[in-house]
Structure formats: structure tokens, C-alpha cells
Amino acid sequence: MMNMTEKMLEQIRDLFEKKNIKLFIGFEKGFEKFSRIPAFAENYDEAKSMIIDEFETPLLAKYLIRELGEVGAGAVEKSERVGILTRGCDYLSIRRLVVDNIILRENLVIIGIPCNGLIDPKKANKLLGEEAQEITVDEKIVLAKGEIKSREINKEEILLDRCKKCIMSKVEESDILLEENMDDMEVSKDYSAVEEIEKLTTEERYEFWRRQFDRCIRCFACRDACTACNCRKCIFDITEPEMLEKTVATSEQFMFHFIRAFHVAGRCTACGECEKVCPVDIPLGLLNGKFKKDIELLFDVDEAGIPAEIEPLGEFKLDDPVEW
């Protein structure tokens, strides 16, 4: 993997020299051992700290809105472009913004990198214990070095949840592709979590969600992390008409989560960021998953996670199911 970082840095120096990007967005080591955080470089030496490895990284697409779409002006030709490091799931989020006319593809320089599943730091720490310093990955086996000894475990156990249901492991198109993907991730659609809830009775379901939503503190972190939530002014910040009142009562919580989920229905790329950033761990993936499952079932869309030119709710077929 190390040479991958070198290749990236070469490309970044080249882009800055040719002066066609004003900024490059990538990752660098975070404060804890295995955490990776977004890094922004306006010139080559700021980019030196950037690395590429197998650890989980936040999705960078949302930052493009701030960089390019200052006042929702992203869909207008810009003089300087922005470079961004992109895996398959990042590409889905970028495509979400392009299809939603929030940013123009021409304003981006996409550097595509291969990926066959990232490691979830939480799971790694839990499994390997605090003292594991370093994790190296070759093929399927993961070696972990602690003070005392190294240990081999199967990568599957510490794989990130979203990678188990990976929609797009290869970057569909990019300006620069560092390396071709080795092999395709064999992945199957798994709505078992959603089906678990569907099996409950209506009372049980209401109880389940009432308990989840009562923990919600309306911090809107989920909205801020979601690339499908790219409005200029969010409806929850608009007071006339007041769709959502400020009181944190159960009915308002249901209202908030109903509206948020409906707004991303058919547009969510299942990147899992909302669930990851939620401070009180509400299983938002279930809500988005329910919509995704129904859309694929009812409107025979084979993968609703890949943003289409027209969103599923933006079109209809004459032979849509009759019984509503």
C-alpha cells in the first residue's frame, strides 16, 4: 500500500504545478491510532502528511459543497478546480452531488484508488485490544503487532459494515486512476436487518422506534454528514411554514425522522455516514434501508444506491404496482 501513497503524492505535486487545482482533499492520520481524518492542502507541502491505507475514512464529497458550492453556486463553471481522493463509495457521493446539480463534474479532478474493504477501527480495537500498535494487511489475512506478539485474524471480522454491502468497489470513472482494482468484491444484497423490524407487530415497531427516537437530541449531525442532504437552506431551519417545531416531543421526533428519511428516499447511496456520526447511535441505516428495499422491489430498480439521472420518485411507469 505504501507505494500507493507515493503515487498519490506524485500526482498531487503534478496537479499543483500545472496550477489546475486550487485545493486537494485527502486523508491523514487522526488522533487515535487507527483513525483517519480529512486533510485539505492548498499546495504540495501541505499535502505531504496525506496517506492511503486500509483504515476507515470519512466520505469527503460533502466538503466539496463548501469548497465549490459556496452559496449553492456549485453548478456554475469555476476557474480553478478541486482535487479529491476517491474510492468507489466516495464516487457514489460525488455522483449524488453532480446529479443534484450541486457541483459540476468539470470543477473536479478525481483521483481514483482501488479498494477491497476498509477496516473498522472500533472493531479492530475491540478484537485486538488496546495494545495493538500496527495492522498490516496482505490479501485476506490481517497481521497485528502489539508489544508482545503478532497475531493473524481474518479480515472479515474487522471489516467495516458498509463494505459488507459494498455497492461500488471500483471507481466508475476518474481523471487519474492510481491502480486498477484487483478483484471484485463478491457482495450480496442484505436487508435482513430491515426484515427483522418488519417482522415485528405494529405495536412492537412503534415501541422500537419510540425508544430510538426519544434518544435523538436533534443535533442534525446526520443531516450535515449526508451528501443527499444538500439543500441550500434546510426545511428544518425554515420557520414559515414550520414543518418541525422546536419541542423535542415524541411526535416531533417522528416528524423529523420521517421527513429526513423521505427526503433522501431513492437518493441515499447507503454510505452509512449518518449512522456513524449519530452521537446516540440511532440505527438510521434501517430507515434508509427500508426505503431502498421498497424502491428496488416496487419500481424494479436493480441498485437504488447508484444515483440515476432522474431519481425514482421523479418518474413513473405505467405498469407500476396497482394496489397502492
Binding site: 452559496v71 443534484d100 439543500c231 437552506k233 411554514p241
Partner: protein
Amino acid sequence: MKKIGVFVCWCGLNISSTVDVEKASEELKNYPGVFYADDYKYLCSDPGQELIKKTIVDNKLEGIVVAACSPNMHESTFRAAAEAAGLNPYRVEITNIREQASWVHSNKEDATAKAIQLIKSTVEKVKKSEDLFPQQIPLTKKVLVIGGGISGMTVALEVAEAGYPVILVEKEPQIGGNMAKLSETFPTLDCASCILTPKTAEVGRHSNITLMTNSEVIESTGYFGNFTVKVKRKPTFVDWKKCIGCMLCQEKCPKKTNSDFEHGMGKRKAISVAFPQAIPYRPIISEKECIYFKTGKCKICVKVCPVDCIEFEQEEKIIEENIGAIVVASGYDLLPKEELGEYGQGKYADVIDGMQFERIASASGPTEGVIKRPSDGKIPKSIVFIQCAGSRDNQKGRPYCSKICCMYTAKHAMLYKHQVHDGEATIFYMDIRAGGKGYEEFVQRAIEDDHVLYLRGRVARVYEEDGRLVVLGVDTLSGEQVRIEADLVVLATAVIPSIGAKALGQTLKVGTDTYGFFNEAHPKLKPVESMTKGVFLAGCAQAPRDIPETVSQATGAAAKVITMFSKNHLVSDPQVAKVNEKICVGCLLCKPICPYKAIEPEIVEVRVGCRAEKRQVATINKGLCQGCGACSVACRSGAMNLSGFSNEQILEELKSLCL
């Protein structure tokens, strides 16, 4: 808080009988935002409207709620009254407490409570209303008439006479429709083609009328005053401009086939014109029948044609027209005999329907007017006419009366008796419906002078035995079962909308009822208008009717078109979509939803702090938008809103109804 006036109408007893009108207006007096509340006997009357106008002016009211009948009835009346008093008409809202409260509930207490709650919710809606101003949109002064029968021709002639261009589209190769197939017409027995041919000739040569026969409308977009219509002109394989109508080709053509115009009673050639007085008097080659198309040989018509106008490789053409108004005059067809199992399911040659009898009795028909049996050509000694074959029959799904059969059957019997004096004409009927001018006298003449036997009863079964037809029926007046042996049986089959009417309705986005007849805007007050503005109806396309009624309705439809074209521009409804550019991010999720393609992206200049920033937002073409509001649901941030039914208004209405 707006100064709102509430007027609760008694509507005589219609509302006050089950809604305590006084209690309602009393309660509304001290509802927040309501400055004036009163009830009145007939608000839609002139004094009623005067009361409203006076109250607006005296108290400088900013919003009006009229609790009365359905907005479809008097919304425009009360909005006009408010406008006359200087208040923007879109500050007036109607609460429907007649059709949707007093008339549908019997318990007075519940009905009153519901009425009060409905009025309060309309007050909330008015509080969120805004001033809206109608727009002027340009208008194309050209009418498209679909259907070249008597109704379509009448509309075309009237509008052309008024000086406006007309496009007349007709499915068949010639105009004349069903009337051209008739022998004589009731009640005067004057021959159909004698009174029709002058009309068709006039249509043929009128400078303002462009005739498009053998064509059909395949697409219609746009809105009233500005329709864009695509017409498919099916190939006739003969160049009608060059053709001089000598009909040598029809004479020499070797291939004979069933003529649709004759409804199977007569033959025609593969290249032919339907009947001698057809307009345009030009032949057409039937691709299915012509030997050349099947085998590539023959081409006799090419050899005999003096002006060489046969074009086998002629293609269909799609023509696009800008149209201001559309008149649907697609006429009717008869219920196919195959659907009537009890009368032989179309198996017996001598069981025919009314139109086939017309062709046999018609002088220009296959039998030159001599009434003969289709099976062996003999003169029938006894004919049985069966009324209501498929009409007034719930089991066959057509409970309606087809209105014209009683009269044309009496005519048929009369024509037969005039030819075969000693022949027996028996008519099985349920009720004779002869309500037009001179109709009842006509039927009495058939009974008394021509001795037509009217048997009141239904026929159970018709079957063939030893070359004759056995009719098993009942005579309910004598209570006897009846068995009649007849040479010919004529079924007065149900009048149904013309084939393709339902599809035409969906192309023009005009609703049809469960039987396929077009829905008029209002059965009593707007019989010639459809629910879609700018699309008018005439003739049997809307419901079964006879020729006098069709012509008067067609003239009415023409008048509607002419009044529409008398103005230079049209006033558009301002209750259309509206974008709040401060909120819109330009994602255009709304764009694919709009059926009228009224939403387009636009780059706008916006000041952000000290610098100017270019940004993309969605914009609405107010002329195209018809105000359906589907886009406002697709807009997540609420930037897209619909004036007149805005998010704020609906939410307020909803909240006050739920408490």
C-alpha cells in the same frame, strides 16, 4: 391578523335544513382574525353579492370566506364580486357546506359542528392567502375538429364562416361519418345524403377548412390557446392532387372485398371510394386487400390511370399544427352483434343491426334500396325488430338508453311496409321513447297507417331452423309467450362511443366516463365543454343523441370556439407554481415532475456580501404551468410553492381541521 369577513349562506333550505346557519355565523363572529360574520338567505343572488361588496368596502376587509355551495358552482361569482369591491379575488375562499355537509349528513348537530370547523379552517387558509394577478398569454386562432361526421362538419363550417382557420381530421378516407350511411332520416323521411351532400361539398371547398381525411391525432401537448398537435396522415397510395376522380382504377381493379362503409352488406374493390357522393371524391388503396402489396404482381390500376397518380410507396406523414382550441366530434359506433349471445352471436347472416338495415334500405347501397335478405337475397315476408339490444341492460354493462333506436326502428318498419305492403313488421319494445318534435306523431303513423305490430316484451332467443329465423319472445300485455318465424331480424344494438375514443381521450387528457363517452364540464350548465379548458365536445362523442340535437350542440361548440377566438389574448389562472429564489439550490428535482415542461434552470446574479455570485435556480414558465402542484412535493426545501394552494395554506387548513 387579517380583517376577514365570513358569510354563511342559507341557500334557502338546502343548507339551513341540516346546518344551523345562525349558530355558525354567531360562533365565527368571535373567531380570531374574523372582523365580520353574518348569514344570508341567498348569497349568490344580486342582493347577496351587494351585501358582500358593501361589507368589504365599509370595513376595508382583507379576506373573505363564503360558506355555501361547492366552489365549482360559484367560486368565480364571489371572486368577481370581491374584485368589484376592490379586493384581490384570490383573497376569497369558499367552504363547501352544502354538497359536502348539509346534503350528505342527516344529524343536525354533527353537520353544524363539522360546518363550523370547515369554515374555521377556510379562515385559516385565507389568512395565508396573497394577492395574485392573472397573466395574459398569446392565443393561436385556429381550431382542430376531430371527426368529420355531421357534428364535426357543422362546427367546422360555423367557425370557418366566422373567418377562423379550421383543421378537420377524419379517421375514414371520406367525411360524412355515420349520417352518410343512412337511408332516410326521421321524422321527415327526407333522404340522408340529399341533406348531407350540400354540407360535405361546402366543407370540401371552404377556403378556411383544411381537410385531413384518413388521419388521426396521435399527440397533443400544451394548454388552452396554445396546443401543439401531431396528426398522423395515413398513406392513401394515390396522389390525390394529381387524381381527377375518373374512377377507372376502381372499375378495372380485379380484387373484390368486404366494404367497411357497407358494414358487410356490400363489396368494394381493393382501390375504391366509399360511396358516389364522397368528399373528397378520391380513391384509396387498401394495403391488406391489394394484390400488388401481397404478391407484387397486378398493377392494373397503374396501367389504366390516365394521370399516373398511383404511388404504392407512399409513406405516412406526421404533421404538427399549432392549435388554439380542439373540438372532439368523434361520433359513435354500434355495439358489435358478437356480444349478444342470445341473438345468435353474429353467427346468423339474417340477423343484422340497424346500420346494416340502413345500407340495405339506402338507394346508393348495395341493393339499390330494395330490402333483401343478406343470406339469399330474397324479399323478406316477415321482419322482427328487437329494441334495446344491449342498451338498458346492466348485465351487459350498458344501463343507459341509446335514445335514437326507437325512432330509427319505427322508420325502418315504415320503409319496409312502404316497399312490401303485405309484409309483417313486428317490433319487440320495452318503452317507446319518441320525445322530439314530430316524433310521437311519426310513431303513431307507423302503427296506424303502416300497421306495424308493436309487441311489448323482451326477446329471449333467436335461432335458425329450416332456413328461417325463430324468435322466442313474450308479449307482456297479453302475458303470452310468443314464437315468431321471421325471414330477417334487425337488432337495435346499443350506441357506444366510436372505437378509439378512450385512447383519443387520454391523448387529449380529457376524461371519459365508464362507457367511454367524454365527460362534459357540467351536465346541465356546460354540456359542450370538456373538463380540460380549450377542449370542446359535440355530438355522440359526449352521449347518444339524434341529428337535430347533434347539430344544435355542434353549433353551440362552434359558438364557444368563436367567443374564445374573439379576444386577442387569454387570461391565465394565476394559481400557478412559484419559486423562492433565496431558498432554491437549483437541484432541479422538480423538473422531471412537470407534465407541461414548465420548469427550466437559469443562472442568476446574486449579491453575497461584497461580491456578486452567479447561481443556478429553477424558474417557472407561468404560461405553461397549469397549477397541479406535483413539483412542490418533490422540492425538499419548500422553495417551490403553489400560489392559491400553498404549503402554508394547506398546513393551516389541516391543523385547524385536526384539533
